[in-house]
Symmetry: C2
Subunit: 144 residues, 2 copies
Amino acid sequence: MRINDVLRDKGGSVVTVAPDTDVTALLALLAEHRIGAAVVSADGNRVDGIVSERDVVRALAERGPAVLQESVQRICTVEVHTCGADVRLDDLMRVMTEQRIRHVPVVDGGVLRGIVSIGDVVKRRIDELETERAALSNYITTGG
Amino acid sequence: MRINDVLRDKGGSVVTVAPDTDVTALLALLAEHRIGAAVVSADGNRVDGIVSERDVVRALAERGPAVLQESVQRICTVEVHTCGADVRLDDLMRVMTEQRIRHVPVVDGGVLRGIVSIGDVVKRRIDELETERAALSNYITTGG
């Protein structure tokens, strides 16, 4: 399975915020869409950063409530791990679990195509492994 | 594999907070321990609730910066999904992924023994499935 199949399955919509959006508006947006992170993008296509609920709580722990009036570009991660739509599910999952990355924007030709979360990836990888194991067990039981 | 094996592997320490801890102190604690949730417990043994970084950001989105001075008991989840140490890894993982639960305190005889995160569970379940698949493949290739 490739990331393209994941996007087809879950849909390719991504919530983006402009870099000068303030953190209060970001929190409202995350709650409204029931998500944990948004892509920071000035033009809605290029990935300029990613900002998560974790970035918000860590910044609050460091600098206090003033963070709520800051712009998201102050707290976001700008070195974003992105991937192409043709990447294999198991390869991406390995990178995400090893590097503890929760969200990966999917980019094709410089244009944002979607976003996959660790939950999206893990759910499908486990389905894939369970299917493979069942097929192998069946092969052994029935003799192929 | 059972949850007991996971705890033996990762260690059984759990960060707890008293119910009257304020949210600002909670955020400092989560940052210090690099974790996403803490167990709320008046006596350090009984699970009175669980409070996560998500609870904080959702409360901030609803009620604004005053939340930072509120006590964690105001924002925590009190109906906590806990499990025993003898629960099977695959059973717990199914519940966590289906119900989108990120953290499950492990309780034995009413006493808090540890906490497992979705990351802990998934990593080991995938290792388990990959090992099983390799054993089955090997059985087929070598004839057992």
